[in-house]
Amino acid sequence: MTRSLFLCIFRIMLKEYKTLVPYLKKYLIYYIAGIFCLVITDAGLLYIPQFIKKAINSVSVGAFELSLIGRYMIQMVMLAILISIGRFFWRFFIHGASRRIETELREKIFYHLLDMSSAFYGEHKTGDIMARMTNDMKAIRMASGMAFVAFIDGLFMALAILVILFTSYSRLTLITIIPLPFITIIVLFAGKMLGKRFKRVQEAYSAISERVQESFSGISVIKTFTQEEHFLNEFGRDNDEYWAANMSLIRIWGFIFPVVSFLSGITVCLLLLYGGSQLMMNQLNPGNFVAVMSYLAMLIWPMLGAGFTVNLIQRGGASLKRINQILEVEPEISNGESPRDVPIFKELTVNSLNYTFHGSGDSVINDLTLTLRAGETLGILGKTGSGKTTFIRLLPRILESEEGQIHYNGIPLHSLELSSLRSSIAMVPQETILFSRSIRENILYSKEDASEEELARVVHISTLDRDLKNFPDGMETQVGERGVSLSGGQKQRIAFARALLADPELLILDDALSAVDTKTEEFILKELVKLRKGKTNIIISHRVSTLQVSNKILVLRKGSIGQYGSHKELSRQDGLYKRIFDLQSMEQEEQS
């Protein structure tokens, strides 16, 4: 049983703990110093009962020197001081190491996450990643700190105490320690059951949080349809399940510590019976009786610890597995070998471009060929699902195309240095994401060292200056949770200003002004064209009016070119563009 147990632990350790090896090596000196202090502390602890034994034995013999007892006690207190110092330092070293490892590992994962592509984030929900970064990191810290201490401490203490007890009082020890292995066994078994129940509690808790989160986010819908009752009932079910999960956990959890105290009480009970008889038969000194009692009490922790160590290491292994799952994902998009610097933009050529999302058979982009020259503005129109967003995401390598299908100034996209490629191609995505900082910091996010003039210019072009006047803190207004709630149009224009400030070679607007009214949009686009003379733009929009500022318009149909040409050409050609244009003209005719 023990053999297989150790093998099992060892297997987990080999497989999952390899991630920790470099850190363990780095803090080896901490661990060594920690173990040293721990062993000193333990040795001191083991010697304390000896003083009590000596004192009581000298007392019970009858005639004794009180000063001798005094000397024993002073020695005991001195030793206790040494133990306290030892205790502080093993905590200092081992907990210090495990906290540092946790910190560095968290850093490593976060840095890794920064390099992950959107395919990765499509598979992993934010909540899931956060759970790994919090709960799992905690389990790993426990495994690299507490489990380690419990293991060394338990092993050393248990062996030493057993040696001391068996050499002096073999029969008495043999009888009194009978209940102790059961502590380990119970903790081990309970650990297994606890794991399952603990998971159930966690899941029920997530369900509750998600339900509440959803109810509040969609509160206006709930109110409009007067479905408060319905949502309360749904929540009530989740709430009951969470309650039931907690109670089932407590049925085991609540039993462990009483059982452990019970079993350790049994050892005293056995000691009383057998040790007491030996005392009466003068086969044992009273001091030794007390010493055995103290040693038995000291054995309880290692027995508990043995069980916990296994649990902690198992749990740590499971958590490391979940962390490794993240770390093992190679960044899909990264610099190739010896990446080239990105030159001034002259021309972008797309040559029979194809793209298919992971796990879906349908290709989103089909054999698309296109050239975009510096100083041009390209408009893109297409039905929902025609591949507009996918196409433009392939350009700054937010999505990854096959090598050689896109060239920048004739250079394959993959051989350009990634971060400079991205700083020469900026994009305003469909969905606006701002950080919970001030408006100023959000706009400056793309270019930290922008001058006040540059900042004022983009604020003006995005017509934010009008809105800022109404905010009490102006540019310093906080965005997000604790700040004022910005309207969709305001958020879009902040994101637009942010991209504009970066002044990229190629600016891509992905339906970026959909929440802005026509008049304002018209102003913004006019100013944009003026400001970005000689620079290149791509504009995606549903509105024909928006697309009219482009030199060329691309109509995407199922991922390939449906139509391509200037507004004039396309409005005369049969096809989607003309249909939509006519649709809107028809509306105008109806109006006039």
Binding site: I69, R87, F88, R99, F110, F225, L273, S420, L583
Partner: protein
């Protein structure tokens, strides 16, 4: 200043505690069970060392002393003798040394000098004549009672008899030992059972209170007005119901019961010490103040360290979560390096905070342990002295060592518990703050809606502001006859969307009246009002669940009606294309649907509920032009015979309206049909021209 704050804190704490206990009222039986179990378990736990002491002193290490008969005249002695086991042999009364009521050396010595108290240790036992003579044969001096049933011999002589005989003499002690061991075992079982009952019933109470609190809070918060809900971040509300309620668990299980238990044990230990030996107890108590001082000092340190650590954990986790959500922005602008640097800074601050927290505990725990060793050293030293003078027995000394260990165990995590209590109190305070604030829309309406409601709607001198005096709508009056189709146009920020929210009483107006079928909407029950007037909102929200569930939204709507609604808004084709049709799951926030598809679903949702009055707030803004055209065609049928308000950017979609309202900065500036307004050549005309020109340019 600081002190003042803490007293305020304390006052509030009392309130929080008493309210928490009120919440526990439905579970009082469980609470009482927990309390009773606690008393039994702690009582039994404290009995253990005393039982051990009695076994050692009265059975294992038992020794007797005699006093002279003459002392029996004194009340002290006659009482002691009658209360305890004793034997009278001749003129001597034998008592266990433990029971001798003298605690001062001088008194003992005085009696010994007068030869009225034995100066040696004796052993007294009950036996029979045969056995007694057997002992006498060995030549050991022994006093024997007249009826030959009791013998007394010097303890030093007892060790001289052979083993068989020794066992016979001490047989009553051996059986006493066995009896006490069994008693010890029973006590352990009692502790086991009652501890479990206590833990379980306390959890039943706390889990029950938490369950009730969560439900109460959700229902309370859901009933609040959008004014309040809009001002409070969703994340805050969620954590009130989840993590703050979780701290209440700590309040009941870790704090209430465990502090009670710790106090019970500590006080119990002090009482037990006092009962065993008042003088040694007094000496023990002298060694306690340093620990108390250390605990108080440490309590503050621990609290600060804990707070700082919590602060940085929140920062780091918030940072991670925000940057995961915004990963695209970071990558688009190539700001990975900056994100790394900022994260590094936060992460290191967290490390510093957790290390200081660790140091605080790394100092405190060993310190308490040191104090325990000092206490023990002092007690053993004094105890040994007292033992030497014959005023303390070995059993009592051993019991003291055991009890001191028991006393210091709770001290170890007392400070931790105070910290937990503090956070539980803070959590409770936040919870009750939410429950105390009531910003709900008063549902005072008693008049039921008429069966066949006509659906006429009127705004009469309506003034409305989201905040203070910033009026979004000023003096707005208009009338919609039953079945009318009213359109509202105007620039962004003109107050169009607000009109929709006011009609359904998502917000209450400051002054004026809104009438449905000539009756103030405040006079109708909120629920039936909102079932009569429904709107397709600009912001689409989809819930996790199937497509059909999102359309029905908890109402009992047959599948056919759901499908019909979806067909009307042209959503049926894409729903059919989804893997499981109407039973396809919608991801978190509808991320597997396009913006246009989400809007169509939200549209279908309203149609499925078939309201008498329909409000469309930019209901087709994200839908591509071709689909929109199809929806527009269906719209004529949908709107027929139904009162409707249509809010739109695009004038093309609303020109057939019975009446068009033009809003500007919260005021109604024009109204009339399309033709009338065009003829006026004012604001509507300008809006119209603007759109017309941009399309033909």
């Amino acid at each position: 200043m600081k002190k003042e704050k803490s007293t305020v804190e304390n006052k509030y704490n009392h309130k929080v505690i008493s309210r928490l206990f009120k919440m526990a009222a439905p579970y009082r039986i469980w609470f009482i069970v927990a309390g009773i179990s606690l008393i039994f378990a702690s009582g039994a736990e404290l009995t253990l060392p005393i039982l051990l002491q009695r076994t050692i002193d009265r059975n294992i290490m038992t020794e007797w002393s005699w006093i002279d008969e003459s002392l029996m005249e004194e009340e002290l002695w006659s009482e002691t003798v009658s209360e305890n086991e004793h034997f009278v042999l001749g003129s001597k009364v034998y008592l266990r040394t433990v029971d001798i009521p003298l605690k001062k050396d001088s008194e003992i010595n005085r009696l010994r000098e007068k030869d009225t108290l034995s100066s040696e240790a004796w052993y007294v036992f009950q036996s029979n004549k045969a056995e007694l003579s057997l002992i006498l044969e060995t030549g050991i001096q022994m006093e024997v009672s007249e009826d030959n049933t009791t013998g007394a011999l010097l303890l030093s002589d007892l060790k001289k008899v052979d083993q068989e005989l020794y066992k016979q003499i001490r047989s009553s002690d051996f059986s006493g030992l066995r009896r006490n061991t069994i008693l010890y075992f029973i006590l352990l079982t009692v502790i086991l059972l009652f501890s479990f009952v206590q833990i379980y019933s306390m959890s039943w109470t706390s889990q029950g209170v938490m369950k009730d609190l969560r439900l109460k809070m959700l229902s309370h918060i859901m009933n609040q007005s959008l004014r309040y809900l809009g001002e409070t971040p969703v994340g805050t509300l969620v954590s009130r119901i989840t993590s703050d309620v979780e701290t209440i668990n700590e309040f009941f299980t870790s704090v209430t019961i465990s502090i009670l238990k710790d106090l019970a044990i500590m006080i119990g230990v002090l009482i037990a010490l006092w009962v065993l030996n008042p003088m040694l107890a007094a000496i023990t108590i002298i060694t306690i103040p340093p620990v108390l001082i250390a605990t108080v000092v440490f309590r503050n340190m621990a609290r600060n360290a804990y707070r700082s650590q919590r602060h940085w954990i929140g920062k780091v986790n918030g940072f991670i979560s925000e940057h995961i959500t915004g990963i695209e922005v970071i990558q688009i602008f190539g700001q990975e390096k900056r994100a790394r640097e900022e994260f590094h800074h936060n992460n290191r601050s967290l490390l510093d905070a957790s290390l200081s927290e660790m140091y605080v505990f790394a100092i405190f725990r060993p310190l308490v342990d040191l104090f325990r060793s000092i206490s023990m050293g002092v007690v053993i030293y004094w105890g040994a002295g007292m033992f030497g003078r014959g005023i303390l027995t070995l059993g009592v000394l051993i019991a003291f060592i055991d009890l001191i260990q028991k006393f210091y165990r709770p001290v170890m995590d007392m400070s931790e518990k105070f910290t937990i209590m503090q956070s539980a109190m803070a959590g409770g305070e936040r919870i009750f703050q939410i429950l105390d604030e009531d910003h709900s829309i008063v549902d005072s309406g008693k008049d039921p809606l008429p069966e066949n409601i006509s659906g006429s709607l009127e705004f009469r001198d309506v003034h409305f502001a989201y905040k203070n005096d910033d009026y979004v709508l000023k003096n707005l009056s208009f009338k919609a006859k039953a079945g009318d189709n009213i359109a509202i146009v105007g620039y962004t920020g003109a107050g169009k969307t607000t009109v929709a929210s006011l009609a359904t009483r998502l917000w209450d107006i400051q002054s004026g009246q809104i009438l449905l079928d000539q009756k103030n909407i405040k006079d109708y029950p909120l629920q039936s009002l909102r079932q009569t007037i429904q709107s397709v909102q600009q912001d689409v929200f989809l819930f996790a669940g199937t497509v059909a569930e999102n359309i029905a939204l908890g109402s009992d709507i047959p599948m056919e009606q759901i499908r019909k609604a979806a067909e009307q808004v042209q959503a049926d084709p894409f729903i059919q294309r989804m893997e499981n049709g109407y039973n396809s799951l919608i991801h978190e926030r509808g991320s597997n649907l396009s913006a246009g598809q989400r809007q169509l679903l939200s549209f279908a949702r309203v149609l499925a509920h078939n309201p008498e009055v329909l409000i469309l707030d930019e209901a087709t803004a994200s839908i591509d032009s071709e689909t929109e055209k199809l929806v527009q065609n269906a719209m004529d049928k949908i709107l027929k015979g139904r009162t409707s308000l249509v809010i739109a950017h695009r004038i093309s979609t609303i020109q057939k309206a019975d009446k068009i309202l033009v809003l500007s900065q919260g005021e109604l500036v024009e109204q009339g049909t399309h033709e009338e307004l065009i003829a006026r050549k004012d604001l509507y005309y300008k809006l119209y021209k603007l759109q017309y020109e941009s399309k033909s340019a």
